[in-house]
Amino acid sequence: MTSPIDDEILQRYHDGDLSPAEARGLSAQIAGDPAAQRRLRELSLLQSLIREAADDASAELDSDALFRAIEGRLPQRAAPSLPPPAPANVRPLRRRGLWLPVLGATAVAAATLLVVLRSGEHDGGAGEAMPPQIAGKLEALSERSADDARLGTDGPPNRWPSFGGELVLVSTAKGSRLEHVDFGRNTGTAFLIEDEDVGVTVVWLDDEDAP
């Protein structure tokens, strides 16, 4: 008797994340497992629904305004008086999952904000006031994030939201994937630009200790 197929493994299989050998092995296992076949169909359906929702959201997203705001904000931040970075500041990125279609579809439309974080800062109300139109965009994104990335769920709606120091995954069409970033004391953001056949993963990191 074979053991049940783990959800994460099935998700990775669905996303094409497994090695060819792993995929072949799992494919054979799925062929003999009606329950796994059903779960796989559900994953496909769910991904389609999410992608449709993300397409709708990305069509409304004013990415230029969003990035102007981000870019304008980073150099203006006062130098922080944070305690020395602790290991707790190191946050692994989430594995590829159902989140990806939301972010991917949005990113394809343009360069798209995924996260803004300040390592170790969880106050949710930090930062200067955000233009209302951008706050609205982020709110729209946060609704789609459910409680996964905690986008803007614990701060006033007109503030840059807290992300709990946690990054969600970015992955290009070809499969480049940001797994982990330790921003140390700096403020940073990570986003994706799909550019014809080339995926560009951008990590934009403020330089508060410039030489």
């Binding site: 990035f67 343009a110 070809k174 994937r177 982990h180 080339v198 951008v202 990191l205 403020d206």
Partner: protein
């Protein structure tokens, strides 16, 4: 691995036979003493660009990277290539390069995957300090770029690009 541990690894590697004379711009932490097996060492391109809002003009070498002409990079009206080089890094090896602002970029090839992707670790810092990018782990597909942006340099901003695979 902590910065201290990485420093110890660096010192140990140097003590155990790395070349005594390390070029100012290319420090290989675990420099191979034998001819490089290029089959197992995918080329890694390192690109360093200075983006500035003073003046105008984009280096023609950047034509192949149109993302730099899109937001938010289009705010840099002047983009100058400061360095473009190719590194050969075998799995398990670490390479360091000096950046023009005095920091070093350290690139480690952690693993080469069967599908052609590689797993990289990248850090940017001053010697003995963890003052910028402590650690970044990336699974990189050939041809895709990683851009680390934001270091201040000469009234501009450095864009450090890393790409796996031969130049197009």
């Amino acid at each position: 691995m902590s910065a201290r541990a990485r420093s110890l690894v660096l010192l140990a590697a140097l003590a155990l036979g790395a070349p005594a004379e390390v070029q100012a711009t290319d420090a290989s932490v675990s420099a191979p003493s034998e001819p490089v097996n290029t089959e197992n060492t995918p080329p890694v391109e390192l690109l360093v660009v200075l983006g500035s809002r003073e003046g105008s003009g984009v280096d023609p070498q950047l034509d192949a990277l149109p993302a730099l002409r899109k937001p938010p990079f289009d705010t840099f009206t002047r983009q100058t290539v400061l360095e473009r080089s190719e590194l050969r890094i075998a799995p398990g090896d670490v390479r360091e390069r000096d950046l023009p602002n005095g920091r070093k970029v350290r690139i480690a090839l952690r693993e080469r995957l069967p599908d052609g992707k590689v797993r990289l670790s990248i850090a940017i810092h001053r010697a003995g300090k963890d003052d910028y990018l402590r650690d970044l782990n990336l699974t990189a597909a050939p041809g895709d770029w990683l851009l680390v942006v934001g270091q201040k340099h000469e009234r501009g901003t450095l864009i450090v690009g890393v790409r796996v695979g031969p130049r197009p």
